[in-house]
């Protein structure tokens, strides 16, 4: 028995020119299929992961118990951002180190399509968890007879969706430039560093005003990074500026990630 004899026909109609740089309609159709395949696989692998399930169920229980999903001081948003960091850190960098990326890039999928589909798959996973937590919160409120305006709940969900979009886009950008889990390390260092740096600079300003004046551009840079990358979503009200900031910065990060990833060399057996 040969492979050729034993297997169903692998030939399909040639979809025309589908080069990496092609922008033909057929090319988009083929890339579109791969896009959906990667999204579905990313989502499937996340939602069948035991750690993911346990974590989401725990947040769900907290939402039922506290009923504070959309109230002030809610713990839901940071817990969901943490979930985003945990599953979003697997984009590109770790795949490069494990060798999975090289196998995938030998398939007919262009790099930008792959990167964006991984981002989309991760977001769908996080938003699935978000939906589950929101339902848990509604159940909790129903049980404890506490009313909740649907509009408030939807706005909170929208804010969290925008926040997680920005987090995943940043992880994709850092992952497209680095190996292994350095993407999440860079994210955390930036997050902590911006706040700590501003604190340190405040002390420097008191102790050594002359040096602080010379280095006055540093806190401006730290504040700029902090404001743009880690703005933090409002809890339960519509904030157009935040939504625009998160969406535009996410788009910029994704465009930069695609640009870097298309040019990146991915030798196999590198690690």
């Amino acid at each position: 028995m040969t492979v050729g004899e034993s297997l169903p026909d692998a030939r399909h109609p040639l979809p025309g020119d589908r080069s990496e740089s092609s922008s033909s309609g057929n090319g988009h159709r083929a890339s579109g299929n791969a896009f959906l395949v990667v999204i579905a696989e990313t989502w499937r692998r996340n939602v069948v992961n035991v750690a993911f399930i346990v974590y989401v169920v725990l947040i769900g229980l907290i939402a039922v118990g506290s009923g504070s999903f959309s109230g002030s001081g809610s713990a839901m948003q940071p817990l969901l951002v943490l979930l985003t960091l945990i599953i979003g850190c697997r984009i590109i960098g770790p795949e490069f180190s494990s060798g999975t990326l090289q196998l995938i890039l030998a398939k007919p999928i262009n790099r930008s399509t792959y990167l964006l589909s991984r981002v989309a798959g991760t977001l769908v996973s996080v938003w699935t968890a978000l939906l589950f937590v929101a339902v848990c919160n509604l159940i909790g409120r129903a049980i404890s007879d506490r009313p909740l305006r649907v509009e408030t709940l939807l706005l909170t969900m929208l804010n969290i969706m925008a926040d997680t979009l920005l987090v995943v886009a940043l992880l994709a950008l850092f992952g497209s430039l680095t190996r292994s889990y350095l993407n999440v390390a860079i994210y955390v260092v930036l997050l902590v560093g911006c706040n700590a740096g501003q604190g340190v600079f405040g002390m420097l300003r008191m102790a050594r005003p002359a040096i602080a004046k010379t280095l006055s551009f540093i806190p401006k840079i730290l504040v700029f990074i902090d404001d743009n990358l880690f703005a933090g979503a409002p809890i339960d009200h519509f904030d157009r500026d935040f939504l625009l900031l998160a969406a535009s910065n996410a788009l910029i990060a994704l465009a930069a990630a695609c640009f870097a990833f298309r040019r990146r060399e991915v030798p196999y057996g590198a690690d």
């Binding site: 028995m1 040969t2 492979v3 050729g4 034993s6 297997l7 169903p8 692998a10 030939r11 399909h12 040639l14 979809p15 020119d17 589908r18 080069s19 990496e20 092609s22 090319g27 083929a30 890339s31 299929n33 791969a34 395949v37 990667v38 696989e41 692998r45 992961n49 795949e95 494990s98 060798g99 999975t100 090289q102 196998l103 995938i104 890039l105 030998a106 398939k107 007919p108 999928i109 262009n110 040019r263 060399e265 991915v266 030798p267 196999y268 057996g269």
Partner: protein
């Protein structure tokens, strides 16, 4: 042109030039072996061919198109040396994913994955996680994902690494099947005996250049070695008949058809020489390898 064509390929890492102008052709239905010492640039060459690395100079075309063209990738299969992919999924799920990315339709994918796993002898482990697979089993998974869409261009990096003798024989059969199917195959291997058995041509890569090219099998020439009985022949007569003089009682020559072998032997015997044996002459890759080192 159809097949793989590489001209003047150069690749450097910082100031270290790893590939110094590689020319390479692989025709459809041809298996070309790539051998050379560690650090010779074999993996770098393979990475350039697959579009993982960007060359500093030269051209790579496959079927007349750029190697990163998606239509070419659709017809390309690749087996890396080390199978380090995501170990958290089971073998079947992994291959389904690879098959779907290779654009095998949803209707066909299960049948093809099952057929390939059966062919490669890993059907019994289909539902087990890849983390529980032995190195040889992972190598078989690697072959599965590379062959599942019946590629026209196949790049194999140490495909028999970690395989037991049965696995080695299986890979040999698979490579021969791909050749018969008309696929162009590049085989990077340190297993010289395997290279000898399956390759039509061998390229010896050393110091970033192809220092030696050897044809092992050809449709237009058959190298043969005729062993003569010492003291029974006249060197000049044999040289006139066979085109080359005997060395150590062995005449190595080339014929274009198998029919010519009997005729050549008949003429040698007619000259009074005793013929002890006639065999197909194969190149001693080990000697080339040692010489190249």
């Amino acid at each position: 042109m159809s097949g793989v064509e590489v001209r003047g390929l150069r690749k450097s890492f910082r100031k270290h030039e790893v590939l110094k102008g590689i020319d390479l052709d692989i025709a459809p239905g041809e298996v070309v072996g790539l051998i050379g010492p560690n650090g010779a640039g074999k993996t770098t060459l393979m990475s350039c061919l697959l579009g993982y690395l960007h060359p500093n100079g030269g051209t790579i075309t496959i079927d007349g198109r750029a190697n990163d063209d998606l239509d070419i990738r659709r017809r390309t299969g690749f087996v890396p040396e080390r199978m380090n992919f995501d170990r958290g999924v089971n073998g079947r799920a992994f291959l389904r994913y690879m098959a779907r990315l290779a654009e095998i339709s949803r209707d066909d994918v299960d049948a093809r994955v099952d057929a390939m796993m059966t062919r490669l002898g890993i059907a019994h482990a289909a539902q087990k996680k890849l983390s529980t697979y032995s190195r040889g089993m992972l190598q078989r998974v690697g072959m599965c994902q590379a062959l599942i869409h019946e590629p026209k261009f196949l790049f194999l990096d140490e495909p028999t690494s970690g395989l037991d003798p049965n696995g080695v024989l299986l890979v040999r059969d698979l490579i021969n099947e791909q050749k018969e199917r008309g696929a162009a195959v590049l085989l990077n291997s340190h297993q010289l005996a395997e290279v000898e058995k399956v390759c039509d041509r061998v390229l010896f890569l050393s110091g970033g250049v192809i220092s030696h090219r050897e044809t092992l099998r050809s449709d237009v020439s058959i190298p043969i070695a005729i062993t003569l009985l010492a003291g029974t022949y006249d060197e000049a007569s044999i040289a006139e008949i066979a085109g080359t003089a005997p060395r150590d009682n062995i005449v190595i020559t080339v014929v274009t058809k198998e029919d010519e072998i009997a005729d050549l032997v008949r003429r040698i015997v007619a000259s009074g020489a005793g013929v002890i044996g006639v065999r197909r002459h194969t190149t001693d890759l080990e000697n080339i390898f040692r010489g190249g080192k």
